[in-house]
């Protein structure tokens, strides 16, 4: 089986796995990352989103071979408690969740949006998150946090 190489959260990574295995299984299994969450297994809820290249994709229906030689960013790669991403800071400041299970995928969708559109309108934020589901009803707080982070990043 050929090894698949890609960059995971900035670090060169090589994995010996079936190229058809699902990216989410590889990230959570052998690579031990817990940022991307399993929610539906069919790309409908967005809890498993990761950034591949510049786009947020659902890792639960993305085959491993498709990320060969690409940059993959999970929630772990956005920032840490010591060096938080402005989005992470804003989600804490706005208390933007109830259960927080969907948040990993939502932060990823938001980060991908801000890479492409650093000053989104509220409607653009909502449109960018329309394929992420939140069942607890924290959407408005999340939108506020994303706009807050965008402002902060623009000012920096």
């Amino acid at each position: 089986m050929p090894n698949i190489r890609f960059r995971l959260n900035g670090a060169p990574t090589e994995i010996d796995a079936d190229p058809d295995s699902l990216l989410l299984d590889v990230l959570r299994g052998p690579l031990g990352l817990m940022g991307p969450h399993f929610g539906c297994g069919s790309g409908e809820c967005g809890a498993c989103r990761v950034i591949v290249g510049d786009h947020a994709v659902t890792s639960c229906d993305t085959p491993l071979w498709s990320v060969a030689d690409k940059d993959v960013t999970t929630l772990e790669g956005l920032g840490s408690a010591e060096r938080p991403h402005p989005l992470q800071r804003a989600f804490i400041a706005e208390q933007s969740m109830q259960c927080g299970y969907c948040v990993a995928g939502i932060l990823i969708s938001a980060a991908a949006l801000l890479r492409q559109n650093p000053k989104p309108t509220e409607a653009e934020v909502r449109a960018a998150l329309d394929r992420n589901l939140c069942r607890c009803g924290s959407q408005n707080r999340m939108v506020r946090a994303i706009l807050r982070a965008a402002n902060e990043m623009a000012a920096a």
């Binding site: 295995s21 699902l22 299984d25 959570r28 299994g29 031990g32 990352l33 817990m34 940022g35 969450h37 399993f38 929610g39 539906c40 297994g41 069919s42 409908e44 809820c45 809890a47 999970t74 929630l75 772990e76 920032g79 840490s80 408690a81 938080p84 992470q88 989600f91 804490i92 208390q95 969740m97 109830q98 259960c99 927080g100 299970y101 969907c102 948040v103 990993a104 932060l107 409607a123 934020v125 909502r126 449109a127 998150l129 329309d130 992420n132 589901l133 939140c134 069942r135 607890c136 009803g137 924290s138 959407q139 408005n140 707080r141 999340m142 939108v143």
Partner: protein
Amino acid sequence: MSSAVPTLPFSLAANPRLSSWIRFASDGQVTVSPGKVEIGQGIVTALAQIAADELDVDIGRVQMVRATTAASPNEGVTSGSLSIQHSGRALRAACAEIREIFLSAASDRLGVDASVLQIEDGTISGPGNVRTSYWELADEISLDRDATPGAKPKSIEERSLAGRSAQRIDIPDKVFAHRRFIHDTALPGLLHGRVLRPEKARAKLTGLREDEARAVPGFVAIVRDGSFAGAVCETEAGTEAALKALRKGATWTEGEALPDENDLAAFLKAQPVESTVIDTRTAANAGRKARTLKRQYVRPYIAHASIAPSCAMAQWSGDRVHVWTHSQGVYLLRNDLALVLKLPLENITVEHLEGAGCYGHNPADDVALDAVLLAKAAGGKPVRVQWSRADEMTHGPFGAAMAIEIEADLDAQNEIVEWRHSIWSNGHAARPGRGTKPTLLAGYELENPFPIAISGNPPQANGGGGDRNSVPLYEFPAWKIESHRLLTMPVRTSALRTLGAQGNVFAIECFLDEIAAERGEDPVAFRLRHLKDERAKNVIRAAAKRANWKPEPKAGTGYGIGYSRYKNSGAYCAAVAEIEGDEEIRVKKLTLAVDVGEAINPDGVVNQIEGGAIQATSWVLKERVRFDRARITSNNWADYPILRFSEVPQVEVEVIQRSQIDPVGAGEAAHGPVTAAIANAVFDCLGVRIRKLPITRDSLIAAMEA
């Protein structure tokens, strides 16, 4: 204060040992062990605030311990918006007593009268620079003693944390991808299991070919007991492959017929029922009936549809088993596990780990039994079982469908002289751990199965079930409220957020709107005229004022109001909906006012009300469990859509802070009022009364044609 003999708060009376709630750890920490669990509602933060406040320690020193049957107080189930009432009051009283105990010991040690001592961040000091601390004294003070009634918690003015918004203590972990969810928890040697469930309702497994599953790399075991079958493998991908192979090689019976999803009211009303008169009021002089108005309201089955599929882990050691679960009640789950396993309670330890948002009795308990049964074949290794999205959407309990008929006798001025409210619904509660038979799914599937528990209803004293919020909050002269609980249950039902309250408040508040319209009276004024309770009137006035009730009519826009006091004894909530409507409905804005008494964490209350309002909007506009006559068909997000970001209304919440009144929960207050407010706004906008949920393009067309 009443002059009655002081008593302990409910949970503290049940678990009086002080050390079971609070311990001072040697490293300057305070461990707080509530019996209630975090289910995404922020409860552990509010409880930490209460404990830190009463003990005078920095909230950063408070370590919240997850509930476990090995050590925690038994507080039953985390449900019914009761955690602040139960756990909060118990912790407040326990901490107040502990503070007194330590002050008295410090007084002895320091030779200073306790009345001149003060506590700051756990350090106890007094005149002459004498000082000690909780931790210095902890060795000589045993908290292995029972709480005594009469401990005096701080006055409102003395509290510095409770009543102010606090950042939730679980949120940083969740934005930084730290392992906090059960789904992310690693145990050494962890194996993975999956259970095979039938596609057709209650089909029995008649045959199972195992060879292909056994050939999967990393295969560990197949467990089969009657219709219960599952596989254990070393990897998650392996167990998925094994399950797929088992499914291919399985044969099933035809299963049991499901009702007609398009005529739920007819189905509900045709079943054998147990009828209960919930409440009656008679009036000698109610007025003279001129006519009777009668309406029927219908709510469909609603799915919990949590974002994460349910998950559990179990590990056997001899005849003892340890279970990790996101159940709402670790002790209750243990009761049912003991019944299925025929083991004494002490052989089973059930420990809580956080799952995704929990809105009631979802499959968390079912999957725990699955894990326990599969782990039996794992040779002492822990087994993690996670349900599929499809199983989560089809095999767990649903919120029960309801048909509600209301009749009002009106006098010549269309004033209400008598009110009759009848409910047909399955019971809204079949939680585990409360009866002599288990209510866990796998228990129904075993070779020697337990009988399927037909859902019941909690008594009115506990808020009722299908009848929750059916007794009018308004001053009508006479009424009769009746509940017909189904004795058949083709679709499995149990507790979902608000139980019957969402349906009943929808029915009552929409019917009132119709009567107000018949009279040509403003619906806010009509409600205020029929209420005596000032707190009720205040939330209605506050929501109306904030929403600028009632804005000038505008083509394509409508406004509606809804009100209730959850369980007739909990939080007061009023909602005003602003919608746009043509061939479909868009909810633009919801304005709510809420009174929970003392709001311990006001931002936490706002968060719960916002979330409840948005979830209710989703129920109203989108949600309905779908089925044909053989199977539940809404087994994914495409067939069970929920509200998306672009569809979420703006939500404004006003919290009326009443620090002097005992706090109640906020998690279920918004659903009923929001549901009614949206339906009433639809009438305001389009002139049609929708009495059947959800309100979709199809239901609008049907109502317009009717």
